[in-house]
């Protein structure tokens, strides 16, 4: 087990390194060096930029030096000082904006995964035990529909329904009165009452695939002799189903969840834009549209690293559940 975890940790570390390279490439992609455009930007707003300050920034980011040195300086600043550079659009350090929005991003992502699990497992089991029944077909169809509707479209439609039917505005994560309020129980409850919408929207597109995985796994297991044995011994049907085959069928399911994570993170990004959630998604879109590349690169990196950590956790969980994986 220790060996397995170490091996997975090494892979994750290599992946994170590769992610940092890709993010750095993204920062470098737009033509010209960013300081020139930063300077032009400030001048345009009527601010005078002292030459010493520009020189200091040139030194700080290693501009004009070989690209490897620039990468090294960039990574070093992040690792040692948590310094992701400056947002060119607002002039605020990127890290300040990131930490501000990171917790809610994680919260929305985690709750979406939770939603997917809570919905997909029981429905998958039901569909398998009632194969070809009316409800099985209904769930399959709904699943396909969830797969086919783009997240943002579902978000728009839900917002429209909420607005026209209930006269309620559903954007954001807090009601206006709690937006600036300090944390309290009431604010937390308010957050929960807003959280379910992105949760459902991101979840629907993923439950479909997972219901099908769960259903297929269950169908494989239900034909096993041990299930028959359980029945022959006179166990109640729900016990026969939930105690043995479900537990076996869950294993491939958990690994699918690990693989679904990158897609869920992507889904959260686009949904958050429509719903105007205070998460990293809208920040990323704004940064990209404004060609604020330090910001964009940092967000891509943070989102990817989060995904890798999530996958790592789900892999380790899976290994705890299923000894066969450790021995591979």
């Amino acid at each position: 087990m220790v060996k397995f975890i170490i091996r997975r940790l090494v892979t994750a570390a290599v992946t994170i390194w590769a992610i940092s390279v890709v993010s750095f490439v993204i920062i470098q992609l737009p033509p010209g060096d960013f300081l020139t455009s930063y300077e032009a930007n400030l001048r345009q707003m009527g601010e005078n930029v002292p030459e010493e300050q520009l020189e200091a920034m040139r030194e700080r980011y290693g501009l004009g030096e070989p690209i490897v040195t620039q990468y090294y300086k960039w990574v070093k600043a992040i690792l040692l000082h948590g310094d992701f550079g400056r947002s060119m659009e607002s002039g605020v350090p990127v890290s300040v904006l990131l930490w501000d929005r990171l917790p809610l991003t994680v919260l929305v992502g985690l709750s979406s995964i939770l939603f997917v699990w809570v919905v997909a497992i029981p429905i998958g089991v039901y569909s398998a035990t009632h194969q070809y029944s009316l409800m099985d077909h209904v769930f399959t169809f709904l699943g396909f529909l969830g797969l086919a509707i783009p997240n943002f479209l579902l978000a728009l439609v839900l917002m429209w329904v909420a607005w026209s039917e209930f006269g309620q505005s559903v954007g954001g994560l807090y009601s206006p009165e709690y937006k600036a309020a300090p944390w309290s129980m009431a604010k937390f409850l308010d957050l929960l009452s807003h959280l379910w919408i992105p949760m459902v929207i991101v979840g629907t597109s993923w439950t479909a695939g997972l219901i099908r995985t769960m259903r297929a796994n269950m169908l494989d297991e239900l034909n096993q002799p041990y299930v028959e044995t359980g029945r022959a011994k006179g166990l109640r049907e729900w016990r026969v189903v939930w105690k043995y085959p479900v537990r076996v069928a869950l294993n491939p399911f958990i690994s699918t969840v690990g693989y679904a994570l990158p897609q869920i993170v992507g889904g959260v990004v686009i949904t958050a834009v429509v719903l105007n959630l205070p998460t990293l998604g809208p920040l990323l879109v704004r940064a990209l549209l404004a060609q604020d590349m330090f910001m964009a690169g940092a967000i891509v990196m943070i989102l990817s690293v989060l995904t890798v950590i999530g996958t790592l956790i789900s892999d380790i969980l899976l290994a705890i559940l299923d000894p066969r994986i450790r021995l591979e």
Partner: protein, 403 residues
């Protein structure tokens, strides 16, 4: 969908009476020689025939194939199907809701041809928004095969005939069966033209991913060893990072001065660079299992070169599977393009794709007041559903010997 399995099986070996349900057109086959004929036809059927029979069983897949054929024909003949130019502004008809087609003419008599009512324009005194009301005293018949703006059919034949329109008698009144947008452009024409880009981007990107997938997956599975290891790590890396933010960042980095065509191609390449991994994995898996087959060894002993063995002997044995997975990967690409364009990071005006059209409906105010701007989304949903069902049917049919 698995449902098809229930309705009948075609087994490769004609043994049981269950075979009859697989192919007989008339279910009351009783005479023994007719049955025998059926058995024989299965025994000598080529794999391709077996696949076709199995595919035909999957009614939803056949229906979806029909829907997709119609959609692609509409895209191909967009100039003919659309009544108006998708980019022509018309200040007089902003945000016209979809017009109802009615068979009752202005006098209230039933007419043999469909038509639409006139519009009365009002301005809301409080919000100053323009609203429209049906003018029951006017009725414009919809005419088919009318002569309107000239165009080149398929880029070859010059003509000015359009599927439908109001004709010259209606003067400057217009038919908006899906409504019009903020500049008075006809949504139906825009959706029809948008189909061109939205439907072709899936095909082009899938073709690129297929090339990447077969080359890299093939190399990986055929040679194994270090190169296999490297390619597999790359695939794992691409799969472990969230695709959408990466797509967004890469397309934001496309040069601003690029033309529409260059941009289309750039986005397609970005989508396939990230999308080839699934296909690559499958191709590799197939190669790994085929490598040890006798027919591959036989070809090798005959002195065939590697490339010949791969292309002539190995690839044909899994084409059907590849076609099925290709079909299943098109929806993802269409959805990705729609999402990117919706965010303003994909294709841009004046290019017309379904994602670009949905950009108009980005905020809740627009959606609440002009819900018909969401209709391009319906086109996306139908296309994606159809591709999913078709791919499912093809996947089942790709293995005609399994049940």
């Amino acid at each position: 969908m698995e449902t098809s399995n229930q309705q009948g099986h075609i087994s490769g070996v004609p043994l049981g009476p269950s075979v009859e349900s697989g192919i007989s057109r008339a279910p009351d086959v009783t005479r023994i020689d007719e049955l025998q004929e059926e058995y024989d036809s299965i025994a000598i059927a080529t794999p391709r025939q077996l696949m076709w029979w199995k595919f035909r069983k999957h009614r939803l897949a056949v229906f979806s194939a029909g829907v997709l054929v119609i959609f692609y024909l509409i895209a191909l003949f967009a100039d003919f199907v659309s009544p108006y130019d998708p980019n022509v502004f018309n200040a007089k008809y902003k945000y016209v809701p979809p017009q109802y087609v009615t068979f009752y003419n202005a006098k209230g008599d039933l007419s043999w041809r469909p038509g639409i009512r006139g519009l009365i324009r009002n301005r809301d005194p409080e919000t100053l928004r323009i609203t429209y009301e049906k003018d029951k005293s006017v009725w414009y018949p919809i005419k088919f095969f009318v002569k309107e703006r000239p165009y080149k059919l398929l880029g070859l034949i010059e003509t000015d005939i359009h599927l439908f329109g109001l004709g010259p008698e209606a003067e400057d009144f217009r038919v908006f069966i899906l409504g019009s947008d903020r500049l008075g452009r006809d949504m139906f024409s825009r959706v029809v033209y948008g189909a061109r880009i939205s439907l072709s981007i899936g095909l082009v990107a899938v073709f690129l991913s297929l090339t990447l997938g077969i080359v890299l997956g093939g190399v990986s599975g055929y040679y194994g060893g270090t190169i296999d290891n490297i390619i597999q790590r790359v695939i794992e890396f691409i799969r472990s990072v969230p695709g959408l933010p990466l797509w967004m960042a890469l397309s934001a980095a496309l040069p601003v001065y690029w033309s529409q065509e260059q941009r289309f191609f750039g986005i397609t390449v970005i989508l396939s660079i990230i999308g080839w991994t699934d296909l690559g994995r499958q191709v590799r898996g197939r190669f790994l299992s085929l490598r040890t087959e006798d027919f591959v060894l036989a070809a090798k002993l005959n002195g065939a070169r590697d490339l010949r063995i791969i292309l002539r002997h190995m690839v044909p044995s899994f084409t059907s599977h590849i076609i099925a997975s290709l079909t299943l990967s098109i929806p993802g690409i269409i959805l990705a393009e729609t999402g990117l364009s919706f965010l303003g990071l994909g294709l841009r005006q004046p290019a017309v794709s379904w994602g670009v059209l949905l950009q108009e409906a980005q905020n809740i105010q627009t959606v609440a007041l002009t819900p018909w701007l969401l209709l391009p989304g319906l086109a996306v949903v139908i296309t994606v559903l159809a591709f999913n069902f078709l791919g499912d049917g093809l996947r089942d049919a790709a293995d005609p010997f399994s049940h």
